[in-house]
Structures are given as C-alpha cells and as structure tokens.
Symmetry: C2
Subunit: 182 residues, 2 copies
C-alpha cells in the first residue's frame, strides 16, 4: 500500500477497502460498450489542459498479442512441458521477482536514462525487451494461477486511481494522495 | 540472465545473443496471420502427450483491455496530471519494483499457497488484483518510455523459449537449459 509514483508520490495505488464499492460503478462503464469508455472521461479533461499534446506522434504498442493471448500461449507452453507441478503461485512470484531483478541489472550504474533510451545499442534494447517480456509472462501466469482476471482488474484499479488523483487537484504534483488537503 | 522457472530451472529465459536471428523466423510467423500461429505448433505437441487436458474448463482472462489499451489509458492518466516529468524509465522501474514488493507482502508468511487461493478472502483477492494491476500498469508504462513494443517482444521471447526448451526434451523436468545434454 505504499505509494510509489514519481519520487515518492502515489500514482496507481488505490484504496483497497473501497474496491468493492468501485466495482458497481465500474461495471456500468464496462457494460456501456468499450474499454475506451473508461478512458474517455480523462481524455476529455486532457484536452482542456495547457500541456502540449504529443499524442499524435506518440509511441504505441501492437494490438496483439492481448493479455489473454499471452496467458493462453504461456499456459500451453507450461502444459506441454508438464511444468505446472513447479508453477505454484509463490514460485511464480519468485520467478517474476527474479526477472524484475534482471530488468534492474540493465538500468543499474547508468545514472539517469532518458525516454527512448537514446544511448542504448540495439542489442541492449533487445535484451531489455526480453527481460520486460519475462516479467510480463510470469505476471500473467501468476494472475492466472491466482484466478485474477488481470485485464479487468486493471480497469478497476485505474478507476480507483482516477478517483484518488483527480487531475484538477494533483496536476504537476508528485505528492502522495494522503498529502493532499481538501 | 539467471533462469528462474520452477525451483531454479529456467522457463522463459532465452538467449539474448540469438535474438536477432530469431526475428526473421518470428516475422514469418507474425505475418502468417495471427498470434495463434505462434502457439499452434506447441498446441499440437501438447495433444500428443499423456498429461490430462484441463484446457476445456481452464480459467481465462477477459479479451479486453489489451496491453495497448492499458498503455493508452495510463498515458492519458499520466498526461492529464502532468506527471511525465516524474516518469523517467528508472523512476518507473523503481515504481514497479515497489509494486512487486506489495504483491510479495501478500504472499509472505503464508507457507505454500495453492492454485486458486482457496483460503483467501474476497478482500484479500481484490487486494492482490490491485497490486498485480499496479505491476502491470508500471511495466507497460516502463516499456512505453523505453520504446519497447511489449506485446511483440513477448512473441519474440516465447519463440526463443520454445527453441531453448523443446517439450520432448524438458518434459517434467525443472532443470535450467544449461543442464541439459544433447
């Protein structure tokens, strides 16, 4: 529950206790049609603010594979090797921790690293791509073994984050949510 | 590059040095039509093996949001709060490490935890869902800021894993790939 956004401020930590009450509100958004519905509200606010709009040329991911595609492919990989006997939740968590450590190794001793990694070689970038992938693969398998519908859980968490950090209140500030006064 | 699958064995660690040569083979798969194409090969092998097939009633995720949906929503969330000034790659990595720690807290002092978390309360499950989501959100934003197309990177890594751990060779074994003899 410690907040970790920016330099000590919270960004994506919500109030766990209020999660169940959020589910109702979220369900309405979910059934209203699309994932975009959940983000549309924020997008509108964004256009009213004075920051430059870099969205047009912004980097984006490929549409596939989806989180569910990754879950299914990794489940097949694990099944056909008879590795489920090793993939209990705590083992998968430790596996993920190990991969996070491998990502960390790539960033240690470097000083600040700019967006886009301008000084990195292609080999270093691909190494990073592999280690980030390893984190995601184990995260997805951990969620599966815990019966957490990870994509939908993200939507619930993001809804909480928007409530906890209203753009009008926290704009440009790295404070943790508990530091804001009403 | 340490392998972390199962109890010390490697599962999703590939050979970084061979990544560029893999890209050609992967590109063929990718352009052959679908994400499923990459997994179909393994799926066929799976049916020839003697393990029980639990796929019919297996837990699965919702199709949405996709990894790209999550990237876009989090980018909007960050943009409209003017938080990109805090979201350099190393800060995002540390944020992710913090969230991994929060997941770890939920599993510490418990002894073994069975698949499906049978003894966990609904509140504990939702707390876990939140923390797993936080890891994914920061992982996605980190990949974005590093210009790594995370979904496609996962496909490349999985292709490497299938080469490194042929099902016929590693079935039921938790050895690291360097421990197998040809």
């Amino acid at each position: 529950m410690m907040a970790t956004n920016g330099n000590g401020a919270a960004g994506i930590n919500g109030d766990v206790q209020s999660a169940s009450s959020m589910n109702d509100a979220f369900a309405v958004k979910k059934h209203s049609g699309s994932v975009n519905g959940a983000a549309a509200e924020d997008s509108c606010h964004s256009k009213q603010q004075n920051g430059e709009d870099k969205k047009a040329d912004r980097f984006s991911f490929s549409a596939e594979p989806t989180v569910e595609d990754i879950r299914r492919m990794q489940a097949e990989f694990t099944d056909e090797r008879d590795w489920n006997q090793f993939h209990q939740p705590r083992n998968l968590l430790l596996a993920m921790v190990g991969e996070v450590g491998e990502v960390s190794e790539l960033f240690q001793w470097r000083g600040e690293v700019a967006e886009g990694l301008p000084d990195w070689t292609d080999s270093e970038r691909e190494h990073l791509a592999h280690e980030l992938s390893d984190v995601l693969i184990y995260l997805v398998e951990l969620a599966e073994k815990c019966r957490v519908d990870l994509p939908q859980a993200v939507l619930r968490k993001m809804a909480l984050n928007r409530l906890k950090y209203p753009a009008s209140k926290v704009h440009g500030s790295a404070k943790k949510y508990t530091e804001y006064k009403d």
